[in-house]
Structure formats: C-alpha cells, structure tokens
C-alpha cells in the first residue's frame, strides 16, 4: 500500500557509474597531490575541504539535536564491475565489517555498539557508502574505525565463506522471492546491453556462487583509497574541529593512483524491447523504461529538470495524473508510478510501473500509460499543475531538513556521482524555471518507442510441487 509519496525520485539513494571525464570522478593521485587543501563554504552552512592525499571532506552544521552522522562514500559500485564478478562491490561492503589487525573480528561492531551508534552501509550502482549515526561526542570513534578499515581490512577465507552465504540469502530475500523485483532486474538487463547498468547491484547468483576472495582483495586494493573517497559529516558540530580531526585520521592516509573505469556508454537502442517474466505470483505487473539522460550526461542541462517535473506531474502525489486518472477515474490500476533519477551518472531510465485492477488486463494498463504519455506530448500541462509541483519541491526541501541522515545522503550522492553538493543550493531554482513547453518537449524527445523497454510479469499458479528454478 502506498502512503504519502513526496516526489520520491528527486533524491533517490542510488546511482550509476562514473564517467571518466567528470571532474570529481576518481582523480589520479598525481593531480590531487599537488592540490592545496581548500575550504569553501556556501549559504546553506556547508563547508568543504580537500586534503593533500585527495580525500574530500564536506561538513554541514545542524544544531537541532546533539547528534552527528558520519558517512564515507567510495566512488565504486556495481557499475564499475565487469561480467563474471557482478556483486563484488556489495560483497566487499559486507566484508568491511569483518575486521582489521587493530580491530579484529567482531570488535568493529562491538565498538560501534558500545557507543550506541547506529551503523550500516549501502551499495548502489555508482557508490559504496558506510555510516555511523551517533551522539556528537563519539565522532572521533567513527573516524578511528573508518580510517582504519579504509586501508587495513583483513579478508579471511573463513569469514568470506559464511558472509557469501549471507549475501546469497539477501539476494533470495530481495529479488528471487519477490516477483516485482525480478521484473525490475529483467527490465534493466534488457534495456542496457553493454552499459554496466545491465547487471543488478547485488550480482547474478551464478557470479556470487563463483566469487573468489581474490576478487574481493583486488577490488579493495583498486578502489579503497582516500583519493577515491568522500567524508560527509552532518550534525551538531563545529566544522573547523571536524576538519582538524578528520585531517588527523584520514588526512595522513597514503593514497594510491586510481585507474579510472572505461565509459562503457550504451550502444544506441533502435527499437522497442520486450521481456516476459514468469514467476509464481498472484498479481500481474508491468514496468516501462525509457532511455533518458541524467544530469551528469545531458547535453541540454535543463532537460533532466524538465524530466523531473514530468515525473512529478505524473506521480508527485495523490493529485498527480496517474493517481487521479488511472487509479481513481478509470479504475484501471490499483497502483501506478512514474519517475526518474536525475542524479544518476550514466544515462538512465524514465520508469513507469502499474498493477492492473481485477477487471482489467495488463495490456489495458500498458495502453493507459501510453495514453498519458501521448497527452503530455500533445498538450501543455496546466499552470496549476506546474505550480503544485513547485510548491511540493519547496516544501520537500524544508521537510528534508528534519533528518540529518537524509541531508548527508544527498550531499554524498551528489558528490560521488560527480555533480557536486553545491547543486543542492540551486536545485529548487532550476526546477522552478521549467516551463510547460519544456515538459512537453522532453516527453516528445525521450518517451519514444525507440528507447522503450517493457517488462511484464506473467504470474504462474502456485502448484505445491512446482519450483522456481530460473
């Protein structure tokens, strides 16, 4: 059941791949070593400094509660992986909790637990990030632990064997036993052929089955170095003190050159692609994905903002078109969504999804989505709709301040995909400048058959003796 959705795709926590020509993408050590440490500051109370070893630190003050979040973002994710080792970034993320010489097996977690911190990590297509959320007096413990495991991880075969099983359970839980997630996985694998968006973040099961500890060791060696990382701290702190303390822990770490990944830009699509997923399920489900540029790859930099507004016109709340027309007026679908991750680094997909109601077929749901697209392409969206979208964006910006975790995640992801955290400050204004004509124009340009991939779930009946071998 969906509750309130607040323009969810504006700041989706997940991303893509690093284009080698973007300024903040994995810099070569040679360039960074010559750089002087600099501090910049913005109106939103955000401060930035780059250490001599190339590590970037961003601090945002928020004094509402005596707490702080510290996140370390690495510019590596599933989009850096090649076939055969898919899922390695994420498995390595799991292994990062296993220990170093200084904090051997189990002591990382017990140290974090002792200070009452909440800690975890997440892997996306273009990043791997680790965080501790804690009382502000414990920030140093977090720096101590994170700086230690940045370079000193011990990969033990025994830990690897059991943790790999944990990751496979995670894959079964999130994907294999979730029919809609299988559709999502197939959509990406079909839409993208040579782009690394092709494979899932968690990896193909066969690659997990054949993953070797050496693959992890190589991966760690290649990507885990201060010049490939960004530290983000948000909370009740003094930026000068944080910079000084971070310098002490992270600034003295030695960096290694990082070999940039190849662009692997997707071969142009020349016509509609369609994939069916048969799985034990009770409800049909459909996803559409249209190839679109992201902010990091757009030739016209207003286009991604127009696509974002388009997403909100279609699905930015209960008053938006898909809810209003398809769910309530026509009762064709029980739920439908649309949206787009403007902050991915590689060209991405503008997504639609729908679950038809009992009386309607998946074909009708699909046609209804095309009709909505056609409407946007032929008629200008109303001024009223545009005003509403903009009101929601302004409000969301305030609401977002209620969570330091959210604030840090936005900064970290913008920085890691190479857009820069400063974008936070101009985002609203750029959205506000989008016109009805621009919304129509991006719909005409990108929501076209040549760039379309359709993935459909075909539910199979549950017969007790059947199994779900795929």
């Amino acid at each position: 059941m969906k509750l309130i959705k607040f323009l969810p795709l504006l700041f989706v926590v997940a991303s893509c791949t690093s284009l080698s020509d973007k300024p903040t993408a994995a810099p070569e050590m040679g360039d960074e070593a010559n750089k002087q440490a600099v501090i910049t500051k913005s109106a939103s109370g955000t401060h930035e400094k780059t250490f001599k070893n190339g590590m970037n630190v961003i601090v945002k003050e928020d004094h509402r509660a005596p707490v702080v979040i510290s996140q370390v973002w690495y510019r590596v994710g599933s989009a850096q992986e090649h076939s055969g080792i898919t899922g390695v970034s994420h498995v390595l993320e799991h292994m990062m909790f296993k220990g170093t010489e200084k904090y051997p097996s189990g002591t990382f977690s017990s140290t974090v637990a002792e200070i009452g911190a909440r800690d975890n990590a997440f892997t996306g297509r273009d990043y791997t990030a680790y965080y501790q959320l804690m009382g502000k007096e414990h920030l140093e413990t977090s720096f101590e632990l994170e700086s230690d495991r940045m370079l000193n991880l011990i990969l033990s075969p025994k830990d690897f064997t059991s943790e790999l099983e944990v990751v496979k359970e995670e894959r079964r839980l999130r994907t294999d036993d979730n029919p809609n997630a299988l559709v999502y996985e197939q959509l990406y694998a079909t839409a993208f052929i040579n782009s690394p968006y092709h494979h899932p973040i968690i990896g193909w099961m066969d690659d997990l089955n054949n993953l070797k500890i050496e693959d992890l060791a190589d991966w760690y060696q290649r990507w885990y170095t201060p010049n490939n990382a960004t530290l983000v701290v948000v909370g009740d702190v003094n930026p000068e003190n944080v910079f000084a303390m971070a310098e002490q822990y992270f600034g003295r770490l030695e960096s290694r050159p990082v070999k940039t990944s190849k662009p692997r830009l997707e071969h142009p699509q020349t016509g509609e692609r369609r994939v069916a997923v048969k799985a034990i399920a009770k409800l049909p489900y459909i996803m559409l994905g249209y190839k679109t540029p992201s902010l990091a790859t757009a030739e016209e930099d207003w286009e991604p903002y127009a696509l974002s507004v388009l997403g909100a016109v279609l699905d930015g709340g209960r008053s938006a078109r898909l809810s209003k027309r398809l769910v309530r007026e026509k009762e064709l679908v029980s739920a439908a969504g649309a949206g787009y991750n403007i902050f991915s680094r590689y060209p991405t997909l503008f997504l639609f999804d729908a679950t038809p109601t009992e009386k309607h077929s998946i074909e009708e749901a699909e046609q209804a989505l095309y009709e909505e697209i056609k409407d946007i392409q032929e008629n200008l969206v109303s001024e009223k709709e545009l005003r509403r979208v903009k009101a929601q964006v302004i409000a969301s910006e305030v609401y977002q301040q209620d969570s330091i975790q959210r604030q840090a995640t936005v900064i970290g992801s913008l920085e890691t995909v190479g857009l820069g955290w400063q974008l936070m400050d101009e985002y609203n204004q750029r959205i506000n400048s989008i016109t009805a004509e621009q919304v129509r124009d991006v719909a005409r340009k990108y929501l076209v058959e040549e760039g379309l991939t359709v993935a459909v779930l075909q539910p199979l009946e549950n017969k007790a003796q059947s199994n779900t071998e795929k």
Binding site: M1, E114, I115, E165, L173, I280, K282, R318, G337, I394
Partner: protein, 457 residues
Amino acid sequence: MNMKFKLTVSCSFLLGPLFLSVLFAASQAHAAPKIEQWQTSNGVKTLFVAAPELAMLDVAITFDAGSGRDADLNGLSQLTHRLLNTGSGALDADAIAEQFEDVGAQYGSSVNLDRSSIALRSLTDAALLKPALKIFIDVITKPSFPEKDFLRLKNQALIAIKDSEQRPADMASRAFYKAIYGSHPYANPALGFKETIELISLDDVKNFHQQYLVAANALITIVGGIDVGQAKKIAEQVAVNLVQGAKPETLAQPQSSKEVADIHIPYPSQQAHVYLGQLGIQRGHPDYFTLYVGNQILGGGGFTSRLVKEVRVKRGLSYSVYSYYFPLQQPGPFTLGLQTRNDQSHQAAEVSLETIKKFVSEGPTAEELTSAKNNITGGFPLRIDSNRDILGYLSLIGYYDLPLDYLETFTDKISAVTEDEIRTAFSKHLQPKNLVKIIVGGPESGANQNRQEGGEQ
C-alpha cells in the same frame, strides 16, 4: 507495490521491523524534549513539543481504533481510514488531494493493532498552514464516504490481500499472529481477509467512523515551529469538530493457547521464512525495561546480538535475524524472525531455539549487560533527533498513558536493570518449549518433525 524506489540499494544489514525505533525509548536527562500536555475544551488530551528550528509542523490525531476494533469485519478500520480523504462536503478525492498538495502539505493515515493515526505535515507559513489544517479537519470530521470510492478501495484491499499472498514473509506473519492469538482480535491482519472485506458495507464504514473517530477516543499530538498558544488553538480547532462520542471498552485479554503450534506452509520460494514466538507483555508492564535490555542482548538491533552471532556471523544462515517484544494495550507478542534457504530452515530454527534456551537459562554475562546498557543509553539522542521521531513518542506516551517524564527517566531505568532481573524476567515470560513455530517455504515434506531434538543436522 511500486518497488522501484527501494530496490536500488543493498544494505549490509536488514534490521528487524522498522517501527521498533519508535516503540522503544531511552533517555538521558540532558536531551529529552519538553512536552506540554493539556486537554481541549471538550476533553481531548493533547501533547505538544515546540521545535522552532524548522518552519514546519507535524500534527497527528490518534484514535483507539486500530484493527483490534474490527470485530468480525476484518479490514474495516483500515478501509475506513483510507476512505477519509476521498470525500468531504462538496469535495471529492481529486479536490482533497489538490488542496493538500497545492500548499505542499502531506497527508497520511495508518492503522495498527491498537491505534489508528491520521497525520498532516505542513509548512508553518500561515498562508499554507491554514488551508492545509482546514482540509485535514474536514476529512477526519466530515467525510462523505462516496460509494464509488468505497467500492474502489474495497477492490484495492482485495488486491493488496492477493499481494500479501505472494509474499512468503507476509504469509508467515499472518500464520504467526493467528497461532499466538487464536480468536483474539490481535490474530487478524489490519488488511483483513478476502471474505471479510467482501462483507463490509458502506454503513459499516460510516458506523465505524461514528463510533471510534470521536473526541472521547482521540489524542492530539503536535510537533513543530509554533508556540504553545498556537498549538492550543490548533488542537482546539481539531477537537471541537469531533463528535463527542464515548471511549470504547478495552480489548479482552488474550489467553495463551494450550496447544503450541508448529506449522509448516509449503511455498515454492527460494527461502523459508521462520518465526518463533509466544505471548509477551503489555505496554506499561513492570518488567518492560528488564525485558527490553535483555532482548537487546538476545536479538536486538545491531550486529552484536547473540542471535546475529550464532545464526548470521558464525553460520551464514540468514541475512537478517532478530527478536523483539512488541507491547500493546494487551500483551503483544515476543517474536523471533529470520529467513534462510529452504533446506536450512530447520537448522536455523534449531540454532535460534538453542540460543534462546541458553539465554533464558543462563541469562546475560556482566559484560554483555554493560555493553547493552551503554548501547541503549549512548544511542538515546538518536531516538529523538527529528520532529518525526518526537511525534512518534508523543503518540506512544499519550495513547498508552505513559508518564510524561517517560523519556527523561528511561535511561535511568535502563541503567538500573541487573543480570538477576533479566534472568528472572526471562524465565517468567519466555518458555522455549512453548514457542510457536511457523515456517513458510519449501516443499511439502517431513517438515514438522525434529521439533524438540535440537542439534544442527
């Protein structure tokens, strides 16, 4: 059902149910927010915390109208709440949605076993807040319950039920509550069942609204960038529009079932979902803090609990394994949950059971207890670091009549818990031989054997 928003990241650890962070509190004297409490002119209890830092406001109305009040029509409370914003006076669902969203406000409702909650988030700018509040009050107090939307949402509920029937986790959870609660209202999911949803009439919805969404049964909670004078005005405005009504009687006390269920539901999934549990304690129970600290050691949050060590770290059996007490108006369940490859489900259940047995008989070590206390007290500020978190606590404190200094005194109570108390409380409240066991997943086989024998294959 729209999964695209959550699929893109994989985390190292899936915590137990997310609502836990709101259900359990801890405190240190220095950081607890100042709670103001009063009654409106018609007697509605109101709790308020001023949070002047951000120009936003959260208001929630909580009713003693959770799914426990569904009687025979399971799903009625949830359906009624979901219908509120589909019509009021001359406004239809479209107009209501537009009125909220034109001013950037967010509206939502939720229902659990005990309570329902209807919430508004708005900016505090009067030009935006005023219209948002007006429509918020109108949908709660003067819903028109259009027939068309009633039929549509009934259909949606049926689809949601089907959706839950293709998720082994939901199937297991349903079987678990049924096994523990039998004929008690807590046995039934808020979503209801196909048969009961089909029975619900529009009059049932109207009657439910008239009976339960009333002043005598309401609690108002407010957090945000306004002063207490403004908060009083808002609470008054909300309250006086509610029909006075009467407070419903408390729910019956659930009885422990004499037979201990051991149920395997075959399902062609890759993983089996395993639940172990039994009847636990009610909110406000004197052993609550002791069990909370003890459970932190057994299967509470983080990577360090005994269950995580035994099931995940040592054996790689599950991505997520956890246990928790879920105190309600009446005794809520103690739940242990995990998921594992089908052929390992019995091994994982046995390892879990052994872990529980050992903990109940031996209790925690002094070291574990110190660490758990440090963890809970050290993490206290995180529990109340946002307006949303504080609002959750106000609803908890107000609804369950917990003392207003609940947050201020929590860490002291945590710190006072001893090893002996934990041992005593667990032997009193947790009987390993009486644990219900539910496994969903895997083929039909000799699945139900081997129950008591333990061992790890």
